[in-house]
């Protein structure tokens, strides 16, 4: 069955993923998704075709389907929502993006209302959502992805710092070689230059938050 584009939000097509509640042959509480995110949609006016849409996490969706949070709580688990007046085609819809604080509570599912799962079809959907949420090792895919992102950022940061440090070491090696070339190999003059360079390196390393283990291992300490 061809996927049906239901809305276009921020230039991205949202397809209808699952009708959770139907009334008057119309989806009134349903799940939409794009390639990256899930959304919950609520038809707040059948005749005028007005909708409220909020972005949700897979974890939140799973919680609602398992009866751990209410339909209203799922919708409010966001910092913003979209109010949509549907036109002939999704691309023509009139869409307003608003802060979640502005959401009219009177049109939301009643407080304390949990979604009842009455059919095999919805039970199968719960399994599908849980399979997407949890990887084969039992970890939440969203959490794993967040950790991976942190690790990538940390690696990038360390890599940048290491690059700076290496660059400075190289510069100091070159400086040292110049000193050797320019100075008489009189202990006093050469030692002064070495000490001065060591101080400069320490200052540079402290900026990159790198601790020196053993300065004797640096070339100019020979």
């Amino acid at each position: 069955m061809m996927e049906q584009v239901y809305f276009i939000i921020d230039g991205k097509e949202l397809i209808l993923d699952k009708v959770l509640v139907e009334f008057d042959e119309t989806p009134v509480f349903f799940v939409c998704k794009n390639k990256k995110d899930y959304f919950i949609g609520l038809n707040i006016d059948l005749d005028e075709e007005r909708y409220i849409l909020t972005r949700i996490s897979l974890r939140g969706l799973s919680k609602m389907l398992h009866g751990k949070i209410t339909m209203r709580e799922l919708m409010l688990h966001s910092d913003k929502y979209w109010e949509i007046m549907a036109e002939e085609e999704p691309g023509e819809d009139i869409i307003y993006e608003k802060s979640i604080e502005e959401i009219p509570l009177t049109v939301l599912p009643y407080e304390g209302a949990y979604l009842k799962i009455a059919t095999k079809d919805l039970e199968a959907y719960i399994e599908e959502i849980d399979a997407n949420l949890y990887g084969e090792d039992g970890w939440e895919n969203e959490a794993v992805q967040a950790c991976m992102q942190c690790i990538e950022e940390l690696t990038r940061s360390l890599s940048d710092q290491l690059e700076i440090m290496i660059q400075q070491v190289c510069e100091n090696v070159i400086k040292d070689m110049k000193i050797r070339a320019c100075c008489d190999y009189h202990d006093g003059d050469y030692s002064k230059e070495v000490c001065k360079t060591k101080v400069e390196i320490k200052k540079a390393c402290s900026k990159t938050n790198v601790k020196l283990r053993d300065h004797k291992s640096f070339p100019y300490a020979a």
Partner: protein
């Protein structure tokens, strides 16, 4: 379906049946035992007006076009009911529009029906001028 039965349908279905634009889905039943089912109907909180044929008009009869409704889909010409009351109780938890649940038997003499065992959804293609008196409003 017997040839003369198509005359019993509302004109929106009858005309399309005649010119081949409309075909019932493969699992449609024309002879079946009564099916207990529930339908969501629009009623204000203190309105207990009896259920009538008007509560069972299809989108095609009302000439409604809505997002997600395919006018070439045969279900556009039928009405939805559910075998599980809980499916409609979820709708009662959504404020708009004001609604109630009607319960009764879907029966063959009033029109063919299709049942989806997985979703509990029943699509009923009602003949014109049929008796819906067997349906009543559920108490919440």
């Amino acid at each position: 379906m017997k040839d003369n039965n198509y005359l019993k349908f509302p004109s929106v279905i009858r005309d399309k049946l005649c010119n081949g634009e409309f075909a019932f889905p493969a699992h449609t039943q024309f002879a079946y035992d009564p099916i207990l089912a529930y339908r969501g109907i629009r009623r204000d909180e203190n309105d207990f007006t009896a259920v009538s044929r008007k509560d069972f008009e299809s989108h095609a009869e009302r000439k409604i076009r809505r997002r997600g409704i395919n006018q070439k889909d045969p279900h556009y010409f039928g009405v939805s009911l559910f075998q599980h009351k809980e499916s409609l109780e979820n709708a009662l938890n959504l404020p708009r529009p004001n609604k109630k649940i009607a319960v009764g038997n879907v029966y063959a003499e009033a029109g063919p029906a299709e049942v989806n065992g997985s979703t509990g959804h029943v699509c009923w293609w009602l003949y014109d001028n049929v008796d819906i008196n067997g349906f009543s409003i559920c108490e919440r």
